[in-house]
Amino acid sequence: MSDTTKYNNEYENKWCPGCGNFGILNAVKKSLADMEIAPEKILMVSGIGQAAKIPHFLRCNFFHGLHGRALPVATGAKLADQDLTILVNMGDGDCYGEGGNHLLAALRRNINLTLLVHNNMVYGLTKGQASPTSRHGFVTKAQPQGAAWQASNPLALALSQGAGFVARGYCREIEHLSRLISAGISYPGFSLIDILQVCVSFNHENTYKFYNDRVYQIDTNAYKADDLHQALDLTMEWEDKIPTGIIYQKETGAYTDELAPLQSGSLLKQTYDPEKIRKTISAA
């Protein structure tokens, strides 16, 4: 076992007892410990929601921003300093609802960020409204007749947008989830890890029992995760069996490698050259 205690902090945790987020928090710590990334070398960026509070509950640098907007903040930080290791944590409402346009853009940019979506299929912070991933018919106080819309399939969406790394984890399988997170961090482009997270307070359908009965780990010996069509088929599995693991991974380069001004190093590290600026302005 790697030692995760160095990531502990003294700030009081504010999640409900039994929340699926605890498993995700432990998996994040384990992955960081396994990868030997010191607390001061990690930047966590998050939006708003119960999931987005995660950076407060471990030792790290963090930017806990606005609802839906974690990806632009993280993108800006990565463009400023491509040497940063950035983990983005968002919930399903945060990422697939409020921040949907930013997810599409992040997928197309393929910028080297690791996005963990704590997908509990309900709005927790605002006490139980249907989320973009709630099933059709999901009953809440705001949708008393049941949600009339279709649940979104974020993994299929990501694949259709050219995503290079798409995975699904389960909050109770911490060891497996931590390996997925490590694979995402090691991936040179944008990685999306959708995490089946149980909400013990507001979602009484997608419970630990619901997932324990259905979740299986993809057999990495039999499934190579390099075929887009097979991957799309896997993202359609849900009712009886729910696959977890790396669903799709393709070879890719880093977005930051394509940008001319970043070729001499990160924007942050390059030096200010007044003489060159003077010449450039006068020649323009």
Partner: protein, 582 residues
């Protein structure tokens, strides 16, 4: 001024109005004349009516004139649309198709060409003869410059620069220019003047957008994120030209919300970052503005105004966002708001805005407008680049105990030492929630009060950084008060009024917020009355002055038609006001 000529080139969008204007402007500039060129266009790529108006003088020009001396009409509509703006001896050059089948009498010409001051010239035909209709613009420029009395060699020289390395195109253009030039050489034009022989350029020509982009470079801006929106896009296009040479990245985002959050992320990570938009985009950025406020992240946001609300007049100018940007985003937090009134001020303001934004860890907003951004200005001042950039960032070595670092440590000035993430052992923790000194969420009464007071405490230092309004004949009985890009028109209006012995001066604000109340009170202390001059419908600066100083404006001269002020409009209205309500 012994020379003061206004030339307008009008036609449909896509006819090359810019090209004619650009050639004329460059010839005049090279000869040592001063000029200001404004661009007036509709929100369409082809058709409609657009024009470029160039005011040429032997003295610095600060604003467009209300009258046209020479109109180059690339279509008949242009004649009709500008008829009422022509001076009495003004001349119109109208492009007419020269139909060889018909005799050349005026009856065969369009109605517009039969007016006495209209000179029909077959620009397009001459261009075709010289090698292609595309050179219609060159023919028109040739005719215009001939009427102004320019030597042909001056035009030839500019064409050589423009078409360097394209020998055939250059030859054809010189032929085209020559035929336009010769077509009017026997026409008298009373605004023709003696061209300075062997004159040299008095300064450099640049658009307002360029001045802002250059200022950003000199301020060491590293990331510029934006979503395209007129009239701000030009700033980013200009910056993008430098991506090959300098460490500046221009990133187009999926929307304005992303743009503002992206620069906040970049700034948090340690680089200076900018976004530019117009009112609609700024509206989308308001929550992000608050994020910069509560996380105390320095960012610079340019809002290039156009008339609203909503889409409003997308390609036109206005000053309707002053009170909006001062108050934008919920609750309260300190911010800077600047409104530069000239290209020099815009350049300097960019450098100052980045500096002050980092010094106080607050967002800085720069208000410009379509008139300022899209006009071609002349600046005679060298654009100085700072030797060093002070970053106001702390590192582990400067801390007693890096693991104890608190991003929002309470200080007397309200400014906490700012470390960068992942650069040492100090953890940089930041949240959009109200927080404690360490940057963790907190809802305690004491943390809330402490943080509100800490943020507000910065205002004291910030106010000291603010300049009072710039005075022009500031001790006069009546004072015109304006802000931002109206600067030039207001000053010229003062000159016009004073030439008629009317005791009028001006105060023009470039630093808006935090409001320099004391300096304003002093500046207004000796006048009998002040009159606000603004491009909005409620005199937003006037309201702000009243709120902040208790001083009330006598009356306001307000224009909100989306067109720039002219000195004449301001002067005439000032006179009526002083006559009606002395």
């Amino acid at each position: 001024m012994s020379i003061d000529v206004t030339v307008t080139i009008g036609g449909e969008a896509g006819q090359g109005i810019q090209t004619v204007g650009d050639i004329i402007a460059r010839v005049c500039h090279k000869a040592g004349l001063y000029l200001l060129a404004i661009n007036d266009f509709e929100s369409r790529i082809r058709g409609g009516h657009s024009f470029m108006q160039i005011r040429i003088s032997d003295q610095p020009v600060l604003a467009p004139d209300h009258k046209i001396d020479l109109l180059i009409a690339l279509n008949s509509d242009t004649c009709d649309l500008h008829k009422n703006e022509m001076t009495e001896t003004g001349l119109v050059l109208l492009d007419v198709e020269n139909d060889a089948e018909k005799d050349d009498s005026k009856e065969n010409l369009p109605e517009a060409a039969r007016e006495k001051n209209v000179l029909p010239i077959a620009f397009s035909q001459m261009a075709k003869d010289a090698g292609g209709k595309i050179m219609t613009n060159t023919v028109a420029a040739g005719a215009c410059l001939a009427l102004l009395g320019a030597p042909f060699s001056a035009l030839e020289q500019i064409l050589k620069t423009r078409f360097a390395e394209k020998e055939k195109i250059l030859r054809n253009n010189i032929t085209a220019a020559r035929s336009g030039f010769d077509a009017v050489k026997h026409t008298d034009f009373d605004k023709a003047f003696d061209w300075p022989s062997g004159g040299s350029a008095k300064g450099r020509l640049l658009s307002g957008s360029q001045a802002l982009a250059f200022g950003a470079l000199a301020a060491d801006c590293r990331l510029a994120a934006f979503y395209p929106m007129s009239p701000a896009t030009g700033i980013m296009i200009q910056l993008a030209e430098f991506m090959d040479e300098l460490p500046v990245l221009v990133e187009q985002t999926e929307d304005e919300i992303s743009a503002v959050n992206m620069i906040i992320g970049a700034s948090y990570a340690g680089v200076r970052a900018l976004t530019a938009t117009s009112g609609g985009g700024f509206s989308l950025m308001t929550e992000g503005l608050g994020l910069a406020g509560i996380t105390e992240t320095p960012v610079v946001i340019i809002n290039s105004q156009r008339p609203g609300p909503a889409t409003g007049l997308p390609t036109r100018t206005g000053q309707g966002d002053l009170l909006f940007v001062i108050h934008a985003s919920q609750d309260e937090f300190p911010r800077f708001v600047f409104a530069p009134g000239s290209p020099e001020q815009a350049y300097d303001t960019m450098i100052r805005a980045f500096h002050l934004s980092e010094k106080y860890q607050v967002p800085a907003i720069i208000l410009t407008d379509q008139y300022f951004n899209d006009s071609l200005w002349m600046t005679t001042r060298e654009m100085a680049v700072p030797e060093e950039i002070e970053r106001f960032v702390t590192i582990d070595e400067e801390m007693t105990s890096p693991p104890e670092y608190k991003r929002f440590a309470v200080t007397a000035s309200g400014i906490s030492p700012r470390a960068l993430p992942c650069k040492g052992r100090a953890l940089v923790c930041v949240t959009a929630n109200e927080h404690d000194e360490a940057g963790h969420m907190s809802e305690t009464i004491s943390d809330r009060n402490t943080m509100v007071e800490k943020r507000q405490a910065k205002t004291k230092g910030m106010i000291r950084e603010m300049k009072g309004p710039e005075a022009y004949h500031g001790k006069s009985a009546s004072i015109l008060v304006g802000w931002g890009s109206s600067n030039g028109a207001i000053r010229e209006a003062v000159d016009l009024l004073r030439s008629e012995n009317i005791d009028v001066g001006a105060l023009v604000f470039s630093d808006i917020w935090p409001f320099p109340a004391k300096k304003t009170e002093e500046a207004l202390s000796s006048c009998k009355r002040f009159i606000t001059v603004e491009q909005n419908a409620s005199s937003q600066l006037g309201l702000l002055i009243r709120q902040q100083t208790g001083l009330s404006f006598h009356t306001s001269l307000l224009q909100y038609d989306g067109r720039p002020f002219t000195p004449d409009w301001i002067a005439q209205h000032t006179k009526s006001v002083l006559e009606e309500r002395p």
